[in-house]
């Protein structure tokens, strides 16, 4: 029988620990497929965050670092500046990248570090117990916003992709979603481009991926996909915000 679909070589055979309906698994797979297609596994170094994806080093079949909370872009900078011919990516959640690590992501982008960042935004802190993230939507209920996020008390959700677009060192910035197969396929094309930007040495690339958290949202996996589509996408519009062609 002809095999039409196999596990990417850039993933180990270890089963994911993620909750049912969480889209981290899909996003891991997309990154791994891109690494396979670009044939760069032997030359790639990944940096994983603190948070739900902290164990990503168990899943990617490439050399990996585990960084402290928010510092992945600084760690990746240290790797890339030491070994400029390697492909270096960070994989970060919204608590990691948009809260404790805002300085690191902004300055890595501003310096135009030749890195690829996969930014997984599910609008909530996952691992620590469903607290408010900088990306939590207004009105969204979390364990630290039990009556829903109130702008007077907790301020406004942060749009990272739009913010980073203003930095000249960031040459490729996009937001994608993985809530249905069409968007999964689009997300893969964008992630691949974000790696190609690095391979061409053009500058900093970031892909924000809208993702689900059924456990902390208190929804079924199917409801979570619908919630993402109906609530997150209107506030976090999808699209390619900046590409090297525009920069030139």
């Amino acid at each position: 029988m002809k095999k039409v679909y196999t596990r990417p070589k850039a993933l180990t055979d270890k089963p994911f620990h993620y909750c049912p309906g969480c889209t981290h698994g899909i996003i891991h797979r997309l990154v791994a497929e891109v690494i396979d297609e670009l044939n760069i596994a032997d030359n790639t170094v990944g940096v994983c965050p603190v948070g739900c994806a902290v164990f990503a080093y168990n899943y990617f079949n490439v050399d990996m670092f585990q960084a402290s909370h928010g510092r992945a872009p600084a760690v990746a900078t240290g790797i890339k500046r030491s070994l400029p011919d390697r492909v270096v990516f960070t994989y970060q959640g919204d608590g990691d990248l948009a809260s404790i690590g805002t300085a690191e992501i902004i300055h890595a982008a501003a310096r135009g570090e030749k890195l690829t960042t996969i930014f997984v935004n599910n609008a909530v802190y996952g691992m620590t117990g469903g607290q408010m993230a900088p990306t939590t939507l207004l009105g969204q209920i979390t364990t630290t916003t039990p009556k829903g996020r109130d702008k007077e008390q907790a301020g406004f959700p942060v749009k990272m992709a739009e913010m980073l677009t203003t930095l000249e060192g960031a040459v490729y910035v996009a937001r994608v979603s993985v809530h249905d197969p069409i968007h999964v396929n689009k997300a893969k094309r964008v992630i691949k481009e974000a790696f190609e930007v690095q391979l061409r040495g053009e500058g900093f690339a970031l892909v924000e991926v809208l993702s689900t958290c059924p456990t902390n949202w208190g929804l079924s996996p199917k409801e979570a996909l619908k919630w993402l589509q109906e609530n997150m996408i209107p506030y976090y519009p999808l699209g390619i915000y900046k590409s090297p062609a525009e920069v030139k």
């Binding site: 596994a41 032997d42 030359n43 790639t44 170094v45 940096v47 902290v54 164990f55 080093y57 990617f60 079949n61 490439v62 050399d63 990996m64 670092f65 585990q66 960084a67 402290s68 510092r71 600084a74 760690v75 990746a76 900078t77 240290g78 790797i79 890339k80 500046r81 030491s82 070994l83 390697r86 492909v87 300085a103 690191e104 902004i106 300055h107």
Partner: protein, 354 residues
């Protein structure tokens, strides 16, 4: 041999380059700024990397990335900046990564001032960051010794896969002295097969990590680290003895304070008081044995520090009650003067307490 006049901070940079270090990540802070100034110019000349980070937090994490990628890497800061780096240092220890961290101490706590002090002894030698660990801490006392110790620092760091701290103070960083650069030979660097630098034909990935989620595993890490620390404390203690043979009043001091103590001991001897100095060069591991040996013939010890008294605790542990251990310190950026120390020695020699 030809001598050149160099500033302490610049000597740190030149010593690192001669030790084969080609990567520096840092953030400006007084009184160590001449080091990044020097390396911003010198690193590109030798094909190295100089990068000014956006903060000390970032700088130490860049060091984590570079160290994990397998290169010799240096960072430098001063007291408040070192506090910010402590989180990263704990991760470097947890992931067993080699690097050299320089702390040119200033007055504190808080923003304090930019005058020289030695009040970061605890946070350098006792861990400083979270978790159980020790840091090899080297305390040079001259510009030549700075240069000589840089190669030693990188070698120790690579050999034991642990960060090494060079602990100086504002005087040492700012002073200029003649040094012999030729004495320092470029060293052969260790193979780092554990580095996460791309698999490059390896069949299994290398992972740089300090997460041990299973308590048994985390305890194993700590046991492994402490076995390593035991070996280090057996093999790597360094100190200098000055006029110690027949000393009745034994001064204990490191770095700049030790130089002042030597002058005070000379003056005391001129007055007929047998004084000597023990200068620990490794603050951790602490050279306890020389204190135990000195305690056999000494009447008492006097620890002199530019702090309210930190190393004195290690001296007391080493002496272990065999003889009285007294303390004289200045803090907040004040420097002990030779005559002030001499007055303390005279008081002790005449049998008086402080």
């Amino acid at each position: 041999m030809k001598k050149v006049l160099m500033k302490g901070n610049e000597a740190i940079g030149e010593g690192a380059i001669r030790a084969g270090c080609r990567h520096f990540f840092g953030y400006p802070i007084t009184p160590q700024s001449e080091l990044p100034h020097y390396l911003a110019k010198r690193m590109p000349e030798v094909g190295g990397v100089f990068l000014q980070a956006e903060s000390e937090v970032s700088a130490i994490n860049m060091v984590y990335g570079a160290a994990g990628a397998g290169v010799r890497v240096l960072t430098s800061s001063s007291s408040p900046g070192l506090s910010l780096m402590q989180e990263g240092i704990s991760y470097l220890v947890g992931a067993e990564l080699p690097c050299v961290i320089v702390n040119v101490m200033r007055g504190g706590p808080g923003l304090g001032n930019i005058a020289p002090a030695q009040s970061d002894y605890f946070q350098s030698t006792k861990g400083g960051g979270h978790g159980d660990y020790k840091l090899i801490t080297l305390a040079p006392a001259s510009v030549q010794e700075i240069i000589d110790l840089m190669a030693k620092a990188f070698d120790l760091s690579d050999h034991y896969r642990t960060p090494v701290m060079i602990l100086g103070d504002g005087i040492l960083g700012q002073m200029m002295e003649p040094v012999e650069l030729d004495k320092v030979q470029e060293v052969k660097q260790a193979e780092k097969s554990w580095a996460a630098s791309g698999m490059r034909g390896r069949s299994t990935p290398n992972i740089i990590n300090s997460l041990y989620i299973v308590p048994e595993d985390c305890e194993e890490l700590n046991k492994r680290l402490f076995a390593k620390y035991h070996e280090i404390s057996q093999k790597e203690k360094m100190w200098e003895e000055y006029r110690l043979e027949d000393a009745e009043v034994v001064l204990a001091a490191f770095g700049t304070s030790a130089r002042i103590c030597k002058s005070a001991a000379d003056k005391a001897r001129a007055k007929g008081i047998k004084a000597g100095v023990i200068r620990p060069i490794t603050l951790w591991p602490f050279p306890s044995e020389v204190f135990q040996r000195a305690a056999k013939s000494a009447r008492c010890f006097l620890t002199v520090e530019m702090s309210m008294g930190q190393m004195v605790e290690d001296v007391r542990l080493a002496v272990n009650g065999a003889k009285p251990v007294h303390f004289y310190g200045r803090s907040g950026g004040m420097v002990p003067m030779v005559n002030d120390i001499l007055a303390q020695i005279e008081k002790l020699a005449s049998g008086g307490e402080q």
